[in-house]
Symmetry: C2
Subunit: 422 residues, 2 copies
């Protein structure tokens, strides 16, 4: 790796090249973008040995530096994960091209037709941590949506990321697209991130993918809009009109199917009217699976083995077999509690009452709101987006799972026949 | 006006109250919101004398402080403009309510139905300059879209803004909505703006309405997303396949209908193949109307009276009877020039060539792109939005004229029947 003396100048060069490339990716045909993606997949497969060797060198250094087992796990590539990366590129090639889609054309009294056209955002900066496969995923989604990308992976994965970047460049070149359409930052210097997030003239949006610390830091310092995903403190509310079997199944799935995902339920609210009958059954199911219950006073009166929940528990994203449980008066208190403590990711109500379901859908201010379904469904693939670049807990631009559409915006188009304004 | 000692504490109180009110405005019925708007209109009419008296005091102070005539003009209320304010409120009451609209519901293989629901952004901060009528306009648009608003008008209009704010509060109260749904900042201390744009916990988006200096400053310092409108350096490109009469009419209207609006054309590009025949006719028309032409070398060869355009002229938003004119090789150079120099507001091509029109629509990266129509159509009313809070030159969230929809976003909703993820 060549040393880079002037990080600011280096990043500005990347930015200028990305801006220029973004004009070409925006105008690129669907066929050219797909050809590039398929060639990238072929390259990834052909270069499997080189990718694994680069990854082995990254891993050796990570072990020398005493990185923890979870990080080593995220960093590790295998023959299987390399194949998955190639397949991911092929899947993105098969998604419909969002760019250029014209919608809502209507004729106005002046005679003009006004509508919207979906267009790329321009240049997207992606900042991520250990997983090298994000390099291929992010490159694919940005290119398919007509954007140029500047990628900054974790310093631990530098060699693997460079090896993947070489495959991406070969794919771009083979399809006649500029190799600078996807650039991977070649330095681990943190000043590069500082530049990337403060160059609004070259970068249109930043998508950070990683832990809460990374995302908070970036949001705080960015001068470019950030599509961010903070934590997932997701709730299930079991209403007094809940179907008991649905309640049990949904709480089970939402909490225990996977503990470490952002759409896992972390808090359970139960309407007082059904707490006596339902809460012991739910608790027995959770306890049998090794889930620790932290409850409010009423919960603990019903479940003597439950620990005491502190104020902090209502905010917590455990990502672990722990759940906070609160008995609430009913729908109003449930909505109030959720809008106060939730991270606005995903919440579900279990209820057979139409009005309760409709009010929950409307009044809960989260990116995904569900009736009688597990919070675990909050996912780009489950929603039919085909792929996702992340899940946004923001309110502006894109909320919830962000797919290709989230990497585009809509401009207005006017089709006239010589009309002028009077 | 009571003095405020601790601006930060004062603004945090406003923020907290707005956040609480936003829960109620988000859930408010269309009927309640409309009732509030109609009562505000009644109040504005009933309080006409009080509004004009407050405005007279503002104007007296402005004259004492030596403010310029243009500013005094923007500051001035009349019986007619007070009536227009009331009618504006009534018009917003008649617009369809965007909140709660469910679209794109589709069933997924898992059995769940996934769709989107339009929801308010939450709390909107509006920062504007002299015009007191913005207080009523902004209050109406924020409320109708289910948001709470914190308004900060120009210090010159403080008394009129407070008088309008009293009418707004009365309307809210009459409809059973919280008076804190629309709060007008009661201090002219600039620190209040500094607080408003750096409270992401209480404010979801900032919409600055005013000069470029104000907007640049706010964008630079904001920690909250900003929907901004910088300048309008709009272009008309007369293609070699242009219909000459349409070209003349469109250039005439785009440049001369009004000089001071952001959707007025500031630059004209003419394809070389038709420059000799068309440019002298266009120039004669413009010159007859007193428009100064600043041209490239080729333009000046055809129009000996034209001044020389400097590099800076291609960037300029004149807001005056001046136009920059450049002869270009054709479509490619026109698109390249526009994407380089434009402020990404509005651009138009005049052409009968289908492929040129389609390429211009797709490849020009501006918030409104037009074929055979005057740039002057870039406007919320002309586009059928009913009203606009501004015109965004951003790419994220909302581009171009921003109406009620631009003050909302979409969350995901899932309608299930007990489904869990496998």
């Amino acid at each position: 790796m060549k040393p880079i003396d002037d990080i600011t100048a280096y990043m500005e060069n990347l930015g200028r090249a990305a801006r220029a490339a973004s004009r070409l990716t925006a105008a690129a045909s669907t066929a050219a973008k797909n050809a590039a993606l398929l060639e990238m997949a072929r390259q990834i497969r052909a270069q499997q040995d080189a990718l694994l060797a680069a990854n082995a060198a990254d891993l050796a250094e990570a072990r020398t530096n005493g990185l923890d087992a979870a990080l080593i796990d995220r960093l590790t590539l295998t023959a299987k994960s390399v194949e998955a990366m190639a397949q991911g590129l092929e899947q993105v090639a098969q998604l419909p091209d969002p760019v250029g889609e014209i919608t809502d054309l209507k004729r106005r009294p002046s005679g003009i037709q006004v509508g919207k056209m979906r267009v790329p955002l321009g240049v997207i900066g992606i900042i991520y941590e250990a997983r090298p496969n994000v390099t291929a995923d992010a490159a694919a989604l940005c290119l398919k949506s007509g954007n140029a990308a500047i990628l900054r992976g974790g310093k631990e994965a530098l060699r693997a990321n460079q090896a993947i970047a070489a495959c991406v460049r070969t794919g771009l070149k083979a399809a006649g697209l500029p190799e600078t359409a996807v650039q991977v930052i070649e330095t681990t210097d943190r000043a590069a991130v500082g530049s990337l997030i403060t160059m609004p003239e070259y970068v249109d949006v930043i998508v950070p993918r990683g832990g809460k610390g990374l995302i908070e830091r970036i949001s705080k310092e960015a001068r470019v809009p950030v599509i961010k995903h903070l934590d997932g403190n997701c709730h299930v509310y079991v209403d007094e009109a809940a179907d008991p079997e649905k309640a049990l199944n949904i709480v089970d799935n939402a909490k225990t199917q996977r503990y470490g995902t952002c759409n896992t339920a972390e808090s359970l609210l139960v309407a007082r009217a059904v707490a006596t009958t339902l809460l012991p059954r739910i608790a027995a199911m959770l306890t049998a699976k090794g889930v620790e219950i932290r409850g409010c006073a009423e919960t603990r009166a019903l479940l003597p083995n439950a620990k005491e929940a502190t104020e902090q528990d209502w905010y917590e994203e455990y990502l672990a077999p722990i759940i906070a449980v609160k008995v609430v008066a009913g729908l109003d208190e449930a909505i109030e509690h959720i809008n106060r403590y939730s991270s606005q990711h995903t919440e579900a109500i279990v209820s057979e009452n139409y009005t309760h379901a409709m009010r929950f859908l409307r009044e809960v201010d989260s990116s995904s709101v569900m009736v009688n379904a597990s919070t675990r469904f909050a996912d780009g693939f489950e929603y039919g987006l085909g792929a996702e670049i992340g899940i946004s807990t923001d309110k502006i631009h894109a909320r919830g799972p962000v797919g290709l559409d989230g990497l585009t915006s809509q401009k207005w188009i006017v089709l006239g026949n010589g009309e002028v304004r009077s």
